[in-house]
């Protein structure tokens, strides 16, 4: 029991620090790209900005509905089964990959339910469209996860990382990695984390109320992004595997920040894709077919290797 509480405390600490750094980096980098100064570093206000923003949310309104509470809960629950390091996992189960995918889809659906609590039809249709598009981006991700499961023959995230000590899975699944990465990028675009004052799930909150609900929505968007990046690292690029004498935990953090910054830069370097038709086109004409091709290639490889011993 004490051990579990300790692990939860560690996790909270890690997420607190990462949320702080990521939201700071997000605002600062984006401001620089937009040729603004952003938060001025020498002043203390620059460093304390994310905290100030949280207080700002809290001071505005105290309203918190049940769905926002569920989002908050699931944003934490999703991390209970994902191993952050070889030992730091709260619930160690053998099918953690399936559980993670389930929690992720649940989180998206909860966001949808939460956003649909509006009296404006226009807002509802907008949000429904956005979440619908977002959910379609899960399809190529799931297909690629199937390919990874076929390669690794396990459903445990821990085991998947453990057996990447020789080669990272990106060697076997370069196409899968590419699709996964693009899918994350497009989801990031839809969630609008890098855009100023625009939120996917909080369009109604902008109009009908702000405060704690908005903070939680923001929090859940970050959690979805963090989750996708961590899953990408675990599935394709070695997770917490050591590199030479550098500890795996440090490598993991480095990979996380490299991917986060690359995603932010790519997000800004590409035009804002607000046209849903275009986004759906990318998904169904590019991501899904290529991930199916990847799956077929993987199955063919396995069949030829394991059943006919050709390769």
């Amino acid at each position: 029991m004490v051990n579990t509480l300790k692990e939860i405390a560690y996790l909270c600490l890690i997420f607190g620090i990462n949320l702080y750094i990521c939201s700071y980096l997000n605002n600062k980098l984006i401001a620089r790209i937009e040729l603004r100064r952003g938060y001025v570093t020498p002043r203390i206000r620059g460093f304390t900005y994310p905290v100030l923003k949280l207080f700002k949310y809290l001071s505005k309104d105290y309203k918190l509905n049940i769905w926002e509470f569920f989002i908050f809960l699931f944003s934490f629950l999703i991390w209970s089964i994902i191993p952050i390091t070889a030992t730091l996992v709260i619930v160690d189960i053998d099918f953690s990959l399936i559980a993670a995918a389930f929690f992720y889809i649940m989180l998206l659906l909860l966001n949808f339910i939460c956003a649909s609590r509006t009296s404006y039809n226009f807002i509802f249709s907008q949000v429904a469209k956005k979440v619908g598009v977002l959910l379609t981006f899960v399809i190529p991700v799931l297909i690629n996860i199937v390919s990874v499961i076929l390669i690794n023959k396990t459903l445990s995230l821990k085991a998947i990382v453990n057996f990447q000590y020789h080669f990272w899975n990106i060697v076997y699944q370069p196409l899968g990695f590419l699709i996964f990465f693009i899918s994350i990028l497009l989801q990031l675009k839809l969630m609008g984390i890098s855009k100023r004052n625009t939120f996917l799930f909080t369009e109604n909150i902008d109009k009908e109320g702000r405060g704690m609900g908005r903070a939680i929505s923001r929090f859940s968007s970050y959690m979805i992004l963090f989750f996708l990046i961590v899953i990408l690292i675990i599935l394709y690029i070695g997770g917490w595997q050591n590199i030479y004498f550098i500890r795996g935990e440090i490598i993991f953090a480095l990979k996380f920040y490299v991917i986060f910054i690359v995603l932010l830069l790519l997000d800004k370097a590409t035009p804002g894709l607000d046209s849903y038709k275009y986004l759906i086109g990318i998904n169904w004409r590019f991501l899904v077919p290529i991930s199916i091709v990847n799956l077929i290639l993987t199955i063919a490889f396995l069949v030829l290797r394991n059943i006919y011993s050709f390769i």
Binding site: T154, A159, N242, Y244, G248
Partner: protein, 499 residues
């Protein structure tokens, strides 16, 4: 893969599969085979020596049989006659077959050599069963005698080297030769049980279980649920203790004294639980035909429940210390690689086979005891090197702990006691075989019974396959890695014993 899954889900399908196999055998090899016996889930064929070549050729090449692995070749005496028992299996179709060939006692050595040579034409692993004195004297320039470390005390290795690399290795198990294996001849069936534990002294329950299940199969006995659960509990405890012992050996070879001592403590913990339940560590003498020796009390289960979390926590700590260390992981990586094909060819089973990427676990594939009721996975590796084998062992410890938790949670209360007198049973002449997934692999026992005596008892341990395969594995590795590779194969000396 689909077939394998289907077999494991629908066990009744297995009987249909065996019947189909039997029909195929009758169809293709009607003239060559003298008689076919169905031994529960396996088939025993009595083959004439002259027809052995054709039978082996058909079994290997015909896609209906597709039997690719040789498990064992044993010679045993039954009455006045001497027989050679060839055990073959296919991991893909999850099936094994025994070929029994009669040889004359006068030309015993020559005929045995002839049979081994015939088998070696189709199964490369058979080459290890013939006399190789000439080879080891001719090509070896260095000798490593049996060592103090457990598992390496049962053979000498003759090496031919090129600088610090091993070019060829020849294993001689002569040191493990016993005077006679006829210890069971004058004993009652019940008295054989404590004697048989010596064949796998690291996990003594498995030989007992294999022997008792073969009798149960012979008598078509239905076992009470509670005794099945107790059997599984002990099996998993022994599996944990054996795997921790494996980690002890590996850490000793690597020179990690801290991990060595920590792992020894945990092994002690596991063995103490076993001792508390059975009263003994090495020779549990706990399994009986039709059940177990005694019921386990609430006190016993409480001991297990209180010790399991500590055991789990400490194993996680040991795993982190052993595999989180870059230097140690680097030492284990890429050494002693066994690829899938050679693992199957040499009849490897158990964690060593699973480390090479083959999902073959008798607990799931054959629905052993009542494992079907529990949710657990069979961890499989990818690269088949030493690191994979260590990973698999750790994963199996966690799975065993999870199985034990489930067993204790669902332990049925119903139990009944009925004393049966085994010496009063009188069997007609009959044979039976049974396989158990022991910590090293597939532990197989073949028995022949007449009246109330065991006519013959053939033990086919999995360590023999690992040991013979090590000759292939050692090739092109460095001399300094010899101990590490042999320790990673988890060889149990008891199984190598032969007369």
């Amino acid at each position: 893969m689909a077939k394998e899954n289907y077999n494991s889900i629908y066990s009744s399908h297995r009987y249909v599969f065996i019947e189909r196999f039997e029909k195929n055998l009758e169809y293709y090899l009607k003239d060559q085979i003298k008689r076919i016996y169905k031994l529960k889930q396996e088939i025993l064929c009595i083959v004439y020596k002259d027809n052995l070549y054709d039978v082996l050729k058909e079994l290997k090449n015909n896609s209906e049989f597709n039997i690719q692995s040789l498990k064992d070749i044993s010679r045993y005496k039954s009455g006045d006659k001497v027989y050679v028992l060839i055990s073959l299996y296919s991991a893909v179709s999850n099936f094994s077959i025994l070929l029994k060939v009669s040889i004359s006692p006068q030309d015993l050595e020559d005929e045995y050599d002839e049979i081994v040579k015939l088998t070696a034409d189709f199964y490369r692993a058979a080459g290890f069963y013939r006399d190789r004195t000439d080879l080891k004297l001719k090509y070896s320039d260095a000798t490593v005698f049996s060592q103090n470390l457990d598992g390496m005390d049962c053979f000498d290795i003759y090496l031919s080297t090129c600088e610090d690399k091993i070019k060829n290795a020849y294993i001689d198990t002569g040191i493990c030769r016993t005077v006679s294996d006829n210890f069971y001849h004058d004993l009652n069936i019940i008295s054989v049980i404590p004697y048989i534990s010596r064949f796998d002294y690291r996990a003594g329950i498995f030989p007992e279980l294999a022997l008792c299940t073969s009798f149960e199969d012979l008598m078509q006995m239905k076992i009470p649920r509670r005794s099945q659960y107790i059997r599984m509990l002990l099996c998993e405890l022994y599996r944990i203790s054996n795997h921790i012992y494996f980690i002890v050996n590996i850490s000793k070879v690597l020179g990690c004294d801290v991990i060595y001592n920590l792992a020894l403590t945990e092994k002690e913990r596991a063995l103490r639980i076993i001792e508390f339940i059975t009263g003994s560590r090495i020779v549990p003498n706990f399994i009986r035909v039709g059940g177990v020796r005694k019921n386990i009390s609430e006190e016993d289960t409480n001991i297990v429940i209180s010790n399991l979390p500590v055991l789990y926590k400490n194993i996680v700590k040991i795993e982190k210390m052993l595999l989180g260390n870059t230097v140690i992981a680097g030492k284990l990586k890429d050494i002693g690689v066994i690829n899938r094909e050679s693992a199957l060819e040499f009849g490897l089973t158990g964690p060593n086979l699973r480390a090479s990427g083959v999902r073959y676990d008798l607990r799931k594939n054959r629905n052993l005891l009542m494992y079907k009721k529990f949710s657990f996975i069979t961890p499989i590796g990818k690269f088949g090197d030493c690191l994979s084998r260590v990973f698999i062992r750790f994963q199996e410890i966690y799975q065993s702990i999870s199985i034990i938790r489930q067993i204790l949670g669902e332990m049925p209360e119903d139990s009944f006691k009925r004393i049966i007198s085994m010496p009063s049973f009188e069997f007609p002449f009959s044979a039976m075989t049974s396989s158990i997934e022991c910590p090293h692999g597939d532990f197989k026992v073949f028995i022949e019974v007449k009246e109330n005596k065991l006519l013959s008892l053939v033990i086919m341990g999995p360590s023999k396959n690992s040991l013979f395969l090590s000759e292939e594995v050692l090739r092109d590795n460095k001399l300094e890695d010899l101990n590490l590779i042999l320790a990673s194969l988890d060889i149990s000396s008891g199984e190598i014993m032969h007369s």
